[in-house]
Each structure stands twice: as structure tokens, then as C-alpha cells.
Amino acid sequence: MPRKGKGVRIVIVAEDERLRIFARKTLEAFGFDRREIYERVDHPKRGTGSGKQYVEKKYVEEYKAYRSRSSRGENVALTLATDADEQTVPDRAKKLDQQLSAEGLQRNANDAVFYWIPKWHVETWGLYLTGTGDVDEYTRYKHLAASIDWRKTGKSFVSEYRQFKQQPSLKTLSSLRIAYGETQRLGV
């Protein structure tokens, strides 16, 4: 787990503001101080359709920075938050991996580099984690964003993650199960 200290320990690359805030609040709920987290804020506006390319482009840049710092023994981490939209979560993850392989790089099993990829979009997780009715991964919920209490989602993610680690449940959304597996790379 990245240690607490003065410098930034975790970098967030997200495809839009909503995902970025979700990622930060979740990391804060894991106990990281705001000052340990650095957010790439130069992402596009939501709805412009270019967020995915942004994440893919920045991933390579930030992965190289991650490797450079971690090779010096620094305990750093990198979070990528991107919607799956119409793709499957594994396909979206594969697309991210391909960005690295195109540069001759590869995400290693012990890298603290993890993907948070909600099916369709982060509202799916937002609704599920705040218990706002039945949620599945076939329906699109983007129009319900305003009804979600985003302050609760991070805490709920952490609490579900901890339960999931003790006893994985098939009731959990499939994209969240994958995200919980990814989160273990953070060492929390």
C-alpha cells in the first residue's frame, strides 16, 4: 500500500470529471489523504466523445512515470478510470493494455497500476453502490446522475470491496467484481 508522506503517491487518469471525482473519493475512503493523490485534470468535457482517447494517450505517459518512480523504490500507484460503454469490461481493459504494448511496455502482475471500468458508465456503479433501486449492467443510467449521492459511492465501494475480499459474492455487478480484483493491486 502506498505509504503516507508529503509527495503524491497515486495519480488518477480519468476520462471525465465524474469518473475523476469518483476515483478520488474512493481513494479517500480507502484512507488516502487528498494530498497523496494527484488528479490529471486536463481531461475533456463530458460528452465530447474524446475521453477514451485521452485516457489511452495519457496512460502511456503516466505508466512510464510510474515505472520510473517505482524503479527507484518509491511506493507509487496509478489509477485509470474509464467507462466501458458498449464494450465489455475485459475488451476495454485489453484496449488499455494495447496502448502499452504498442510502446513495448507491459503492465506487470505486481504493478500498482489498476483499472476501474464501469459497464456503460460510472452511474451504473453510483446507483448500485448507493442502493438506489435494482441495477443491472444492461440498462443505461446516465440520465439518473443527478439522483446519485456521489459522496456515498466511495465509502460504499470500500465497504463492498472489503466484504468481497472476505467472501466474493456473485450478486455484485460483474464490472465491480473485476474492479475489486484490480483494486488489490493497490495493496489495500
Binding site: 487528498r34 486536463d42 481531461h43
Partner: protein
């Protein structure tokens, strides 16, 4: 939230209209009127809420240099939940510019007229729109600030209180002294009376504790603040630090004035942040919040502000030329101020596509047009 501003025939503003959102970053070259926006908001606030004379608030030199008209017009729109409030003020200058006076002053809210001053007569209207008292009033001052709160004028007095909570800051560390002889609830723009403001805020013990908590990760070894009496009704703001050696901790305190410029500004940033947190519906205007502050400190503060704006409804407007702030805010919240061939100020949204270079790079190259 202030959601509309109209300025006509005031300094470099002619028929200017702007619709700010909850969070705005004012961008543009020097001399494009960004700071003047803050001046106008402060002036309107003081004119409505204080006994402020038209000759002091709108002196003749504020008339637009190239405009021959003698009337200045201001409109301020504030959104209250779903109800819109609009304040309109027309100042008329004498031909020789020696005097000026109110030609028209009007406040409407939630669909009804609440107040009107015209031809030397002030007309009050009740919350339900029915006509209230009519009385003669000074042509050179707003009567709005003198009207006592009553059960039937809650809309008018809400507007006045809302306007009082517009704070404009542009700290100058050299002016930020630690000596205070009392308390003030609103500081001056340069924060020369910062210690008096902090003394006022620290009356709430929880505020002091929260400020300490915020500043501890920011100022190495910071332990707390205290006001040391230096005479009758005089205090000195001092900062306490713990210097930890291997086997013991040595505490010491130093006057606020001996902190570095950056440390004083960081203290001001977090004080303002906590004030904002406790002031629902307030508007904070900050000219160059990143001045004197290390690069590392900008994002944590800014994210606190963004959370507050999003979750609690406060409003912030910043002016900045700092790349970190520009990259963080310009894409979503940038308002680009410009002047065509040295003429009146205009404003438009900052256009940026992520496949382009970063917003700060674009601004740095003057490609924002």
C-alpha cells in the same frame, strides 16, 4: 449564485453581458477587464449594503473613455433556488462630470418588483408584489441598505444579505500584518486586516481547530495559532510550531508577520476556504489565488473548492495566469475576456479540445482566440 452581470459605460465595458456559472476562471490578456469585474461586484455590494455615495462609487473617471454618453448602467442577476433576482442601477452624470446621481434603481425577485427608486422617490413593494410605502430619498445613495427587515419584505432583505456575502480577495503578503485591534467580519481585498478577520472567525473554537487541521500538512511543524494580548484591545497573531528532534519536541511560536509570503498566502487560502464552507450561498472572488504559493499546494486547495461548489452550492470566481489553475479549470469553467482593437471588453467560453495541447499551452501561445 450570481448568474448574470451587465455593465455599460463603465471603464472598458460597453454593453457587456456575462453569465457566470458556479465556478469560473477568468482568462485573458492584461487589461481585458478581469479585475474590473471584481471591482464592479464589490462596488455594487458596497453601494447596496453600505451608505456609499454615488460620487465615491462611480466617480466620473469610471465613465468609458471613448463614450460620450453620461449614463452608466449595471445589472446583477442572482439565482435563489429556482427564483431569479435582478438588480438594476442607472447612474446619471452631470454634463461637466462634477456630480452624479441615481437615475433609476430597481430590484425584482421571483417575478415581482420589490423596490424602485426614480425621480427622487423610493417605492417599496411587499413580497407578494403589492405596493408598500413611498418616501423621498437621497439621489446619491441607495435606500436599499436602510430598509429594516420585516415579515413582508423577506425577499428584499434576502437579496441584501446575499450581496453582503460577496467577498473579493487579492492578498498582498507584505500588507498582511499580524497586529489587530479588533475584529472584522469581512476583510479588505488586500487582506491587510487578515489578523482581525481571523480573530473574528476564531471566536468559533471549531473554526480554529479546523484551520489547524488544514494547515498542519501544509506548513511543516505547524501546531496552532494564538492571539497574544499586547495591550488594551490589541493582539498579535502568532503561529506555534513543533520542531521535532530525535529525542524531544521543541515548541516555539513566531509572529504571523515573520512567516514567509507563501506561508501567509497559504494561511489566507485555507482561512477563506473554511469561511466559504461555513457561508452557504456565498461568492468568493479571488484574484490570483496561486500567487506566492508553491506548485504542489495548488491542486489540494482547488479540489477542496471544487467539492464545495459542487456539493454545497457556493460560488467561486478566480482570475489566474497560473498553468496549474488554467489546466484544472479552463476546459470546463474558463471565461475568456478579450478586447477587439483596444475597444470594449467581450467575453466568451474558453474553447478547448483535448486532442489539442494543454489549455495552459494554448494560453501561453496566445492561441485561445
Amino acid at each position: 449564485m450570481i448568474n448574470h452581470l451587465y455593465i455599460d459605460n463603465y471603464r472598458c465595458f460597453t454593453n457587456f453581458e456575462w453569465k457566470p456559472g458556479p465556478l469560473s476562471l477568468l482568462l485573458g490578456d492584461n487589461g481585458t477587464g478581469k479585475s474590473t469585474i471584481f471591482d464592479v461586484l464589490e462596488t455594487l455590494r458596497d453601494f447596496v449594503t453600505n451608505p456609499y455615495h454615488t460620487s465615491a462609487a462611480f466617480p466620473a473617471h469610471t465613465l468609458t473613455a471613448w463614450d460620450k454618453r453620461r449614463e452608466q448602467t449595471f445589472e446583477l442577476g442572482i439565482l435563489r433556488n429556482e427564483g431569479q433576482y435582478t438588480y438594476r442601477l442607472v447612474i446619471e452624470h452631470a454634463e461637466d462630470h462634477a456630480k452624479n446621481r441615481i437615475k433609476l434603481e430597481q430590484l425584482s425577485g421571483e417575478g415581482v418588483l420589490l423596490y424602485q427608486f426614480e425621480d427622487g422617490m423610493a417605492h417599496l413593494y411587499r413580497d407578494d408584489g403589492t405596493e408598500g410605502p413611498v418616501f423621498p430619498f437621497d439621489w446619491s445613495r441607495s435606500a436599499l441598505g436602510t430598509i429594516p427587515e420585516r415579515q413582508d419584505n423577506t425577499r428584499l432583505t434576502w437579496f441584501r444579505r446575499r450581496l453582503e456575502r460577496v467577498f473579493a480577495l487579492s492578498p498582498v503578503p507584505l500588507h498582511m500584518v499580524g497586529h489587530t485591534e479588533g475584529e472584522i467580519w469581512r476583510p479588505d481585498r488586500r487582506l491587510g486586516d487578515f489578523a482581525s478577520w481571523l480573530k473574528h472567525l476564531s471566536n468559533d473554537m471549531a473554526f480554529g481547530a479546523r484551520l489547524t487541521e488544514k494547515l498542519q500538512p501544509v506548513l511543516d511543524g505547524f501546531a496552532g495559532i494564538r492571539f497574544k494580548p499586547t495591550g488594551d484591545m490589541a493582539w498579535e497573531l502568532r503561529f506555534t510550531f513543533d520542531y521535532a528532534e530525535t529525542d524531544q519536541t521543541n515548541g516555539f511560536d513566531i509572529p504571523f508577520g515573520r512567516l514567509s509570503d507563501g506561508q501567509r498566502c497559504l494561511t489566507a487560502l485555507y482561512t477563506a476556504l473554511l469561511w466559504l464552507d461555513e457561508s452557504p450561498g456565498a461568492t468568493l472572488l479571488w484574484d490570483e489565488p496561486s500567487n506566492f504559493v508553491s506548485l504542489r499546494e495548488i491542486q489540494p486547495w482547488l479540489l477542496d473548492v471544487q467539492d464545495m461548489v459542487e456539493e454545497q452550492g457556493q460560488q467561486c470566481m478566480f482570475i489566474s495566469h497560473h498553468p496549474e489553475l488554467i489546466n484544472a479549470l479552463a476546459g470546463e469553467h474558463g471565461a475568456y475576456f478579450y478586447r477587439e482593437t483596444g475597444g470594449p471588453v467581450r467575453v466568451k467560453g474558453f474553447e478547448w479540445k483535448p486532442e489539442d495541447m494543454s489549455p495552459a499551452e494554448i494560453v501561453g501561445r496566445g492561441w485561445e482566440e
